[in-house]
């Protein structure tokens, strides 16, 4: 069997989510080819990076304006045009591929398996349902498999390969949608889904200013990404793309520091696979303490600056 892994990249560099999805793709047992579709020069660099990953036997490159802005229709058409040669299609469950892969699956008359967390057998996978409150084991009866991978549960594949790079056969752009613009938050902080450390704030932060005054300095001291609970995002204290939780991003860093977050099921579903969880909350009965490795019952407005300062003394 041969698997086509569709690469996540930002049109300059390959994203870590590709390395993680590669681990899942390799576990299916067949050869793994990687498709890098994008617009502009950066696509080639991303393809070269993909060719170096351990376990990749071929890289296909599709470069063209239709792939520059991740529009679903042309990318799905491209993957379907390549489908004849593949038994499985794997992509990380990022917003790009949550958008594209079901379109591919329907065009192939396949029922997609969304956000797998484990490969049990080449046709059998585990996936969370009900916001992670239950884990389902499903076996796909379709001839071709279409799978998205929850990247936080797979280790990143390393380098060590030297795959050939070829141009992918082109596909016509259905021309159904056009790109108008984007607002991408530019930040020097690591992205949430690949950050080793995350500091998140909840409703108790009370304002956007307090996020900037308390959460961000602590995050910067730790070289951490900044997250937020849904309550904090809904209240306007933090931007949408900071949201950690079932309806936001699912993360699993080495260290997750939850500040002023009560621990709603919604939020826990997005961070409970973190290796070490620290909770700072003045309510000692907050549910977040039931999952935290280290709980500090304290007023965050005193504890967080103290923690930031203590880390500074450690030379952080």
């Amino acid at each position: 069997m041969t698997t086509l892994l569709i690469a996540e990249h930002d049109h300059e560099t390959l994203k870590d989510s590709t390395n993680k999805a590669l681990t899942a793709a390799s576990q299916l047992g067949g050869d793994v080819h990687v498709l890098v579709a994008g617009g502009g020069q950066g696509t080639k660099a991303a393809a070269e990076a993909a060719a170096k990953l351990a376990g990749v036997s071929k890289v296909l490159v599709a470069e063209g304006p239709a792939y520059e802005h991740d529009l679903a229709e042309p990318l799905a058409a491209l993957i379907v045009a390549l489908a004849g040669g593949y038994d499985a299609f794997v992509a990380p469950a990022t917003s790009r591929f949550k958008n594209v892969m079901p379109r591919v699956a329907a065009l192939l008359d396949v029922m997609q398996v969304s956000e797998i967390i484990k490969v049990v057998a080449p046709d059998t996978y585990e996936r969370p349902i009900y916001a992670g409150n239950a884990i389902q084991t499903v076996k796909s009866k379709d001839a071709k498999k279409v799978i998205t991978v929850r990247t936080s549960t797979f280790a990143a594949a390393g380098e060590g390969g030297s795959a050939a790079i070829e141009n992918a056969a082109s596909a016509a752009d259905p021309g159904l949608s056009t790109f108008v613009g984007e607002e991408v938050a530019k930040s020097d902080r690591p992205e949430l889904t690949s950050a080793k450390i995350i500091v998140s704030g909840g409703r108790a932060m009370q304002s956007r200013e307090n996020f900037a005054k308390y959460i961000e300095p602590l995050a910067d001291k730790l070289g951490a990404g900044v997250g937020a609970s849904r309550a904090a995002v809904d209240a306007g204290y933090a931007p949408n793309d900071w949201q950690v939780g079932q309806t936001g991003k699912v993360v699993a860093p080495e260290l997750y520091v939850a500040v002023g977050i009560s621990g709603a099921i919604q939020h826990l579903a997005g961070m409970k696979d973190s290796k070490v969880i620290v909770a700072i909350n003045k309510d000692e009965d907050a549910p977040i303490f039931q999952v935290a490795d280290y709980g500090l019952v304290a007023d965050l407005y005193q504890a967080v600056p103290e923690l930031t300062e203590a880390l500074g003394k450690l030379g952080k």
Partner: protein
């Protein structure tokens, strides 16, 4: 322009689901059921389009057991004009749902279909994209803003790292994200009025769609638990534990 809104009956989002001890699924007996929250946002958006004079009729469709008519009534009480219930027993997967919806779309000819981005029971996040594929229509998932431009649409989408705005050639499929709007509550007079609104009864057989599941569910289990750790007395102890015990600093 007619707007079609598919809605799903799911376990209420406030209910803590329990996995059955024999591993065959989650406990659904005597559990409160409601409209999928993302679908409520879809209904609300369609109603706002109608109130703004952009849409002429809002039709709600649900695929599921007879009780799914209650979910349709909820949408009618919010203000939708009429409903279609496609009766189906057991688990109908997103691909089969999309095939049934395709047939409904072909019969109803809407200019726009608005769906929730995912149902909070199976968390698949597939149906809208699949429907768009089967119809050969444009799609915009995870919408946080929707504007009508003639027969086309401008949609702002929530994507990793920020927001993306795209233009869709109509007819189109849009799926809702949390921040598109805040759904209204149905008023008592509207709940009474909704009882008189028509719901068309259909069955899967009327559409000739094979709904045999493609995924066989082998097992449903509780997730691995996480134990509560220790409480530390102050910041100094926290830093010390993180450094020496957890080794993450």
């Amino acid at each position: 322009m007619k707007v079609l809104v598919p809605v799903k009956r799911v376990v209420d989002y406030n209910v803590k689901v329990r996995v059955k001890s024999d591993g065959t699924g989650v406990e659904l007996a005597n559990v409160k059921m409601s409209m999928n929250p993302f679908d409520e946002i879809a209904v609300e958006e369609a109603l706002r389009l109608k109130e703004a004079g952009k849409a002429t009729e809002v039709v709600v469709v649900s695929i599921g057991p007879a009780q799914a008519s209650e979910t349709i009534r909820t949408a009618l009480a919010m203000g939708a004009d009429r409903g279609i219930l496609v009766k189906a027993e057991g688990n109908v997967e997103p691909l089969a749902v999309a095939k049934i919806l395709k047939a409904v779309v072909e019969a109803e000819q809407p200019g726009l279909v608005i769906l929730g981005k995912q149902a909070i029971d199976d968390d698949s996040n597939q149906t809208g994209q699949m429907l768009a594929a089967l119809l050969g229509w444009s799609q915009a998932t995870f919408a946080s803003k929707l504007e009508v431009e003639g027969s086309d649409f401008k949609v702002t989408r929530e994507v990793d790292g920020g927001l993306q705005t795209i233009k869709l050639k109509g007819p189109a499929i849009v799926t809702t994200d949390l921040r598109l709007n805040e759904p209204r509550y149905a008023s008592l007079p509207n709940i009474m009025k909704a009882k008189k609104k028509p719901i068309d009864d259909k069955s899967v057989a009327d559409y000739g769609v094979d709904v045999t599941p493609r995924l066989e569910v082998l097992k449903t289990a509780e997730p691995a638990g996480r134990k509560a750790g220790v409480k530390v007395k102050d910041v100094a102890e926290l830093v010390n534990k993180l450094k020496t015990e957890a080794g993450v600093l």
